[in-house]
Subunit: 457 residues, 2 copies
Amino acid sequence: MQTEKIPYKIYLEESEMPTAWYNLRADMEKKPAPLLNPETLKPMTAEELSPVFCDELIKQELDEDTAYFEIPEEIRSFYRMYRPAPLVRAYCLEEKLGTPAKIYYKFEGNNTSGSHKLNSAIAQAYYAKKQGLTGVTTETGAGQWGTALSMACSYFDLDCKVYMVKCSYEQKPFRREVMRTYGATVTPSPSMETAVGRKILAEHPDTTGSLGCAISEAVEKATSLEGYRYVLGSVLNQVMLHQTVIGIETKTALDKYGIKPDMIIGCAGGGSNLGGLIAPFMGKKLRGEADYQIIAVEPCSCPSLTRGVYAYDYCDTGMICPLAKMYTLGSGYIPSPSHSGGLRYHGMNPILSELYAQGLMEARSVEQTKVFESAQFFARVEGTLPAPESAHAIHVAIEEALKCKETGEEKTILFGLTGTGYFDMLSYGKFNDGVMGDYMPTDEELAEAQKTLPKVE
Amino acid sequence: MQTEKIPYKIYLEESEMPTAWYNLRADMEKKPAPLLNPETLKPMTAEELSPVFCDELIKQELDEDTAYFEIPEEIRSFYRMYRPAPLVRAYCLEEKLGTPAKIYYKFEGNNTSGSHKLNSAIAQAYYAKKQGLTGVTTETGAGQWGTALSMACSYFDLDCKVYMVKCSYEQKPFRREVMRTYGATVTPSPSMETAVGRKILAEHPDTTGSLGCAISEAVEKATSLEGYRYVLGSVLNQVMLHQTVIGIETKTALDKYGIKPDMIIGCAGGGSNLGGLIAPFMGKKLRGEADYQIIAVEPCSCPSLTRGVYAYDYCDTGMICPLAKMYTLGSGYIPSPSHSGGLRYHGMNPILSELYAQGLMEARSVEQTKVFESAQFFARVEGTLPAPESAHAIHVAIEEALKCKETGEEKTILFGLTGTGYFDMLSYGKFNDGVMGDYMPTDEELAEAQKTLPKVE
């Protein structure tokens, strides 16, 4: 099939951009478990969710049957400012590795937020605006999501309140400044602004914060203010839905040249990037039309798929969000301070969790220093300095390409390059100075964190 | 002509990318004045330049007649990793301004170096490698050039020594870290490593450095080491030559849709971006085939075109480089510490200087706070956070679009968006906090700086 010379970068025409998001659940025979009300332990209804989330987003969150959701023109118009994202043929990487494998990556870093997060941020801001809201609240860890949401809110003239995990707030002043440039209010979490923040600070005055805690603060703020709702950048099914633009564009680009990937690799924190990238391919796999090896890559220091349990858990530390059935380390799990960048959430998106439970995808965990080695290698060879998160996928793609070198197999490897490392130079600096450490929780530590799991029959 | 709907982003096919750089001097009736030997005051010969510069680059520097230089395949191969750069139709900006003007910008920020500088960096690294050199030295101010050169040297496995103006070195640790990630050595300038650095430090122990001083150190280092040459990121004719890929791609993209710009706007520091963008258009103008209004935009705090003199001057503070005839403020001129970002060089490329002297282009100077206002406005409306340098062009483009709104003229405005502001968040922070100042040198200060001009008959 591959007779035509594949260009370095495959760009779709605007007319070829997706007009609908794809809801993978529609093709799943066994659906993911429903969200539960933490008090009644019964499935959450749209009414119960409406004080927290925007109405249209709740519909998307709960809908298991509609295969396609049309992308509103206002969102498509914003997408056209920075999409289609390029699908890159990694010719230089292949040559440097001396592998017969063919390597492709979908690059989502070519926008000011620097990552794929903007794909869902603009959708969530749009539905908030459409509902006539004044603003939204959210949390951010590494800062990619907060930046993306600030941009999206600025575009629709919505107020944006971001609770930024305190250690990131202090280590990434420039991330914060980008959000402020886009008009967002950024508060280090835990803060004295919320009851949950005050409680945590009273108990742990020296805490550097966690994603779960920042989520609790953002939810409390949203529900206590008139005209506000809470929005989230990962984990939820609605977020994965929006991120399917990544996979759909990728598949369209590959199909144009008759390319079928043998292997699809993505980094996995909350799972929205991985889910978005693999969705249309997994759909074919579920329908029995094609097969692909799908690999989720997570950090050793936050190994929810590889070392977590598949169980109902709280989505946040404050235990005020719905319960989700997912691979989780327990909502009390906080990665070691030596952990860099994102991929630090204790759980995994429920759809991906169910697919993993069914054996439809694999998962691997990687040590941080190995990840940065691959990141630096990739930056030098392919020119793009990757985010540490994305470098997890790069690392496994390189490992697989080297296996092909040994076996002589000409596999086609596709991975997601979710973002750039411009705001992670403090971590790169540690790596450059040779003072970056690795961390792997002991079984005892994991068992301890699992004690925070709720009891659900 | 413009019947077809213009997309948000016009991407060329790889096959449409330029195969040659365009030497604008070939179409100039009155050529720019030659470089002079600072000791003999006679035109510099290739032999005299060869201890400092790479041989092929010297040929390009001195050649006034060859209209096209073929781009070697190795460089085109690297270009394909991040080029063609998109030509963007600023639909959102037009709508927000309510202008009948049609606005286009060529975006050069979609690569890890974050700016157009990579276009020349890879060319210079290639010729250094081809000559069998061990490495190159250079200076960097805001850091864009140093980053680009580090990437290019890493690609060709060349050693790279960067002298970074001390205040930038301290204010931009993340720029420095990107360069280190690509394997470069970064030294704050002035340093004790060179005679000129030691001399300046002895006289001014508290100096925060200047571009002119860093150039002197880099040149001294290159000439004192075996197998090294000095390379420069702007000002020189060779650099402008490489940057013509910007203008050639832009013109090809516009021609595809039958669009003729009425006005071309670029920020101007040393002039390489502006020169590269306007080259093919200016060529047509020189040949009498078309007319365009061309506007160079510079900061009020470093106004070489608008308030400088057209005279022979030193290219560096140490007065060891050749003399160039250019619009200059005097090599002793150092912009106020309140000046942010690049565009801080005391002179202007000799080709652009001659074109300006002949009245073929205009120049305007803009205050820093106005530039940041336009930068923030643009970031919010068009989604891309611009570098402060690029925002000079944005500012004048917006001014001109608003004039069209008043007059009802449907002008087509083209400007160069040279890079992103990811590494300028300290300056954005000052702007966000309302503590950014403006600075305009007095006539007396300019007269004082001009005293450093050499006497050349």
